[in-house]
């Protein structure tokens, strides 16, 4: 049975797509079969991160066509064990389609032989996002360490609770961390959410800012400008690897990670 993970955020530009692809690649390295789905209704980004310039079929086909259309949309990435479904090239279709067909799509995807299915969602507290998050085993909310991002993260969580009524599977990720206080931001958010709203967050982690990420986008010799392919031993890649190990098999995590 596949686990479903969703990557959401209160604000745009915090690094959802990067985090989703990071998880996908790290899990694939840990020999899990992973399917990444670009579900950002404001526009498709995932294919860029995974080095694909053009594609014929996308998630749109999965939502509109009949039962068997699913397999055609899936693209094999250059990373072993990792496949993905490209997203909405034409943004306005997303809003109308997804509210009707999400159940059917999920049924289809679960029949396929994947260990983890990761949905890269769009920014903000949108109904489309909430409907997917309701199905997920793990919901990741990505935030930055600035007050604006934090503010919107709280707003997102509050709206999510108002919509869903529960917050069982929330995981918080603080991205672009540049100091020890940033590293502790996840835990601080957990504490504040507990004290103010009695919300229990299941997990929190920090991903550090690493120059390797923007540097890899300048390595123009490669079509794929992904830090995980070009600089896989950088610190940010290590952060992802560590987080994935903690999530999928905590007992395997040794004292020195």
């Amino acid at each position: 049975m596949a686990e479903i993970w969703c990557v959401a955020s209160g604000k745009g530009g915090v690094g959802k797509t990067f985090v989703a692809s990071g998880f996908g690649i790290s899990l694939a390295k840990l020999r899990r079969k992973v399917l990444l789905v670009d579900f950002d209704i404001s526009g498709a980004n995932l294919h860029t991160v995974l080095g694909l310039k053009e594609f014929k079929k996308s998630i749109v086909d999965g939502l509109t066509s009949s039962a068997d259309g699913c397999r055609d949309m899936i693209v094999r990435s250059t990373f072993p064990n990792l496949d993905f479904i490209p997203g909405f090239i034409v943004p306005q279709l997303g809003q109308e389609l997804c509210t009707f067909k999400v159940d059917a799509l999920l049924e289809q995807l679960k029949k396929l032989d994947y260990d983890v299915i990761i949905f890269d969602l769009g920014p903000g507290a949108q109904k489309a996002n909430f409907s997917l998050m309701a199905y997920a085993n793990r919901n990741f909310i990505v935030t930055n360490c600035e007050p604006t991002s934090v503010e919107k993260t709280y707003s997102f969580v509050e709206q999510y609770v108002a919509h869903e009524g529960n917050t069982k599977n929330l995981h918080l990720l603080a991205n672009f961390c540049r100091s020890s206080q940033h590293q502790g931001l996840g835990k601080s958010l957990e504490s504040v959410l507990f004290k103010k709203h009695d919300i229990n967050v299941r997990f929190s982690a920090a991903i550090r800012f690493d120059n390797a990420v923007w540097q890899s986008t300048f390595m123009s010799t490669s079509n794929l400008q992904n830090v995980f392919a070009l600089m896989p031993y950088s610190e940010v890649c290590h952060d992802f690897y560590k987080i994935c190990k903690q999530l999928i098999d905590p007992s395997e995590l040794r004292a020195v990670s």
């Binding site: 007050p147 502790g184 601080s188 004290k195």
Partner: protein, 221 residues
């Protein structure tokens, strides 16, 4: 502050009530960092006043839970559920702990030693006083005479000088075989003289001269 609400000290520090002392300290440090004024995590959720109130609560919670005695009292009261909110506060717990300590206290009040500063009274004998002042050759017998004149028993002198009474009597009898090395003997004589109100330097020097000759006599025997 009710017993069930989030203002219970364990909930404030976000630890279970089975937490060890170390875990409580770690949680306290973390909570202090989280609710410090500059933390971005507080933005849009807590005002500065609320954050300050939370910091005070955290301090209070830690003062009770970090102290094993206070923690035991607090936990007992919390579990019995028959205590009001004010009985669970830091002050109430402190007070209860003090009362418990006084009841169980094994401390006896130490008896005040009134004899410390008192000197024995003696009748002044003017002739003897002049003799004391003029004396340049102090030997054991004369020391004994002055001691008895000043109404000091060997016991009392021992108490005052802290010198072994055996040594004190050997000093008076000038018996080198019953005394330690000359450097100690000199010290004892100094103490002896000082306690009796004599000029210790003069006494010690003259005594040691006589003592050293006696020491050589016993060596050559």
């Amino acid at each position: 502050m009710s017993t069930d609400s989030k203002n219970n000290y364990y909930e404030i520090l976000e630890v279970p009530n089975t937490a060890t002392q170390h875990e409580i300290t770690v949680a306290y440090e973390k909570a202090k960092r989280t609710y410090s004024a500059q933390n971005a995590a507080l933005y849009s959720v807590f005002t500065e006043a609320e954050a300050s109130a939370l910091r005070d609560l955290i301090e209070e919670a830690y003062s009770v839970l970090s102290n094993q005695n206070y923690r035991n009292i607090y936990e007992k009261r919390l579990l019995s559920k028959s205590y009001s909110a004010s009985d669970l506060s830091l002050d109430a717990v402190k007070k209860a702990s003090n009362e418990l300590f006084n009841e169980n206290s094994l401390l006896q009040t130490a008896p005040v030693d009134t004899s410390e500063s008192e000197k024995p009274a003696y009748e002044k004998n003017q002739a003897l006083e002049t003799e004391i002042e003029s004396c340049a050759d102090w030997d054991g017998d004369f020391l004994k005479k002055v001691r008895e004149y000043k109404q000091y028993s060997l016991e009392l002198l021992h108490e005052k000088t802290k010198v072994n009474p055996w040594y004190l009597s050997a000093l008076e009898k000038m018996e080198p075989e019953n005394l330690p090395a000359p450097v100690f003997v000199r010290g004892y004589v100094t103490q002896f003289a000082k306690t009796l109100g004599l000029n210790e330097k003069q006494v010690a020097e003259s005594y040691m001269k006589l003592y050293k000759s006696k020491l050589e006599q016993t060596k050559t025997k």
